[in-house]
């Protein structure tokens, strides 16, 4: 528990510092590198929240593909020479951001969340870790889930079952969206050199 707390604060410090760097640093390439740091820290949080699958997805998609695309954009637009300048809106933007932060924190603190009791939380965490590799009866047993109802609930609720069962329509919609985006960006970028 203590180790997890240390990791939490460490990751939080790294992530916030890197995020501030992204918006404040002058060199765009460095901003992209700091952004990768933020992505990796977020993946660390996912591991901390026992969402291993999402952590791996985060590293693969963000720290891999998205970061490389951003670096490509930075290099190809030669914007690095001009740097990352603020516009006239700097002070109002900071004010608005501060206001938004205050509102968010106020809402988060005052809302009466009903969290799971810690023991159930740990069980759930164990199952979520297990569930990535298939919720086998042994795995559930290990997590301390023995009741028939609970077991069937846990087994029905794995990521793959949800994604291709309950959420299959959004899943297919997102697939179509991805295809459309890929075709769209190709169509945008090809054509006559003069445009």
């Amino acid at each position: 528990m203590v180790l997890q707390d240390i990791i939490f604060w460490l990751l939080a410090a790294i992530m916030l510092a890197a995020a501030l760097g992204v918006v404040l640093v002058r060199d765009l390439f460095r901003a992209a590198l700091l952004l990768v740091t933020v992505f990796l820290a977020v993946a660390g949080f996912f591991v901390l929240l026992s969402a291993q699958f999402l952590a791996v997805v985060q590293v693969l998609v963000y720290a891999g593909a998205v970061a490389i695309l951003l670096v490509f954009a930075v290099m190809l637009t030669k914007d690095v020479a001009r740097g990352n300048q603020p516009n006239r809106l700097r002070l109002p933007a900071a004010g608005l951001a501060g206001l938004a932060l205050a509102v968010f924190i106020a809402v988060a603190v005052t809302t009466g969340w009903t969290p799971l009791p810690p023991s159930v939380q740990e069980q759930a965490a164990l199952v979520q870790t297990q569930a990535s590799g298939g919720t086998t009866p042994e795995g559930l047993e290990q997590a301390g889930i023995s009741g028939e109802v609970q077991r069937s609930q846990a087994q029905r609720a794995t990521l793959a079952d949800l994604l291709l069962g309950e959420y299959v329509v959004p899943f297919e919609a997102v697939s179509v969206l991805l295809l459309a985006a890929a075709v769209g960006s190709l169509a945008l970028l090809r054509g006559r050199p003069q445009g």
Binding site: L3, F29, R30, L33, V36, L40, Q52, F53, V56, V57, V59, L60, A63, G64, A65, A67, I68, V71, F72, M75, T129, Q130, S132, G133, G134
Partner: protein, 387 residues
């Protein structure tokens, strides 16, 4: 998690690093020997028996060399880039099992994790090229990013096919599922795609355009020297070893085998794959950058989708195992034929043009029948149709 667990993990990581370093030194020696033999040379012979200490001497030389940092380089990026590259190469090995028990930390999502972590190395290459403030470096790093991202897709798709066959992403489970027959018999297409795309992922010779000495003079590594450069070198060999090990685990049955202990089988199979890698390096010329990208997007990506779809059909309808082998082989043959056609295309076109010229010459000659026509000097009768 207590202190002892942490200590055990640290110790096993240290052991892994030591083992990998020894393996890399061995690989360097082996590569120089094998390449020497392929080129009808002896390879290193001076340092130690059969040149066995040659890699040690190389390493010593590299470490003692002056480590130059270009004055206009971005120091922080320049320094940290090799660390990122070697870390991503090393961290992959954390979950690669050498036998059922010999693994630092077996993960449920092992295969997925390996792919995700190896992507971070690309960022290191880009940083190296950018940080060294060199045109060749930037060019090389852009090429590296384009190449590695493109070849990542076939690797991922083949890995998905394998995960479907094994019904798991756990490398130990994948090996166990190959108990009766290795997956290479089921999905030979997958093995070929994985091996080729893996070669491209680690930038071995037919795909080493991003650090080609004759074109971008070393690409991202152009400004690196001494210990820093040796770190890149280390990462490249660790990656090569990892690709060979993964090929063994995913397709060749891992550590399964009769008589000998599992670890020996694993090492033997991995070594065989490594030897094929060296053989390819000694045989094939480098691809051009456009050929490289075209090969990835026009050949490997559609093929890897075909591999996934055929595996899905096999799984869904529960067809017998040989049907998947047949489907996979059919894909392999079709592509082999297409590649052959494409490779011999230029020669065929040349032959056609020659034949047409010949025919035109013939008809002209027969058209002016009677008169003595001196044949052109360049016209030799056996020129066309030989290619």
């Amino acid at each position: 998690m207590g202190i002892t667990d942490l200590l055990i993990i640290l110790l096993s990581l240290a052991a892994l690093f030591a083992g990998l370093t020894v393996a890399v030194l061995g690989l360097i020696w082996l590569e120089r020997k094998v390449l020497g033999r392929l080129q009808q040379r002896l390879g290193p012979t001076r340092a130690g028996p059969m040149g066995l200490f040659q890699p040690l001497a190389d390493a010593l030389k590299l470490i003692l060399k002056e480590d130059i940092v270009p004055s206009s380089a971005e120091k922080a990026v320049f320094w940290i880039a090799p660390v990122i590259v070697v870390l991503s190469a090393f961290v992959v090995w954390v979950t690669i099992p050498a036998s059922h028990t010999l693994v630092v930390e077996n993960l449920d999502l092992g295969l997925f994790y390996i792919i995700a972590v190896s992507v971070i190395g690309i960022m290191g290459l880009v940083m190296a090229g950018w940080g060294s403030a060199n045109k060749y470096g930037t060019l090389g790093s852009l090429r590296a990013a384009a190449q590695l991202i493109s070849y990542e897709i076939p690797v991922i798709m083949v890995v998905v096919a394998v995960a479907m066959l094994a019904q798991s992403m756990d490398l130990r489970v994948i090996v166990e599922r190959q108990g009766s027959y290795p997956f290479v018999l089921l999905q030979p297409l997958g093995l070929v795609i994985f091996f080729i795309a893996g070669l491209a992922e680690v930038g071995r010779t037919p795909f080493d355009i991003y650090h080609a000495e004759s074109e971008v003079v070393g690409g991202p590594f152009v400004e690196y020297s001494g210990a820093h450069w040796s770190v890149f070198f280390l990462a490249e060999y660790i990656n090569t070893f990892a690709i060979a090990a993964l090929t063994t685990l995913l397709f060749l049955g891992g550590w399964a085998g009769p008589l000998l202990p599992p670890i020996v089988w694993f090492l033997l199979k991995t070594l065989a794959v490594v030897l094929v890698v060296f053989w390819v390096r000694g045989t094939f010329p480098r691809l051009r950058i456009d050929q490289l990208m075209a090969f990835a997007w026009k050949a490997l990506v559609p093929l890897s989708f075909y591999a996934v779809i055929s595996t899905a059909i096999y799984q869904f309808y529960g067809w017998p195992a040989w049907s998947l082998s047949l489907m996979s082989l059919a894909g392999l043959l079709a592509v082999g034929y297409l590649v052959y056609q494409r490779m011999t295309g230029p020669a065929r076109r040349v032959a056609q043009v020659r034949a047409r010229q010949q025919a035109a010459m013939q008809s002209r000659r027969s058209g002016i029948s009677g008169g003595p026509v001196a044949p052109p000097a360049a016209q030799t009768p056996s020129a066309p149709g030989q290619s």
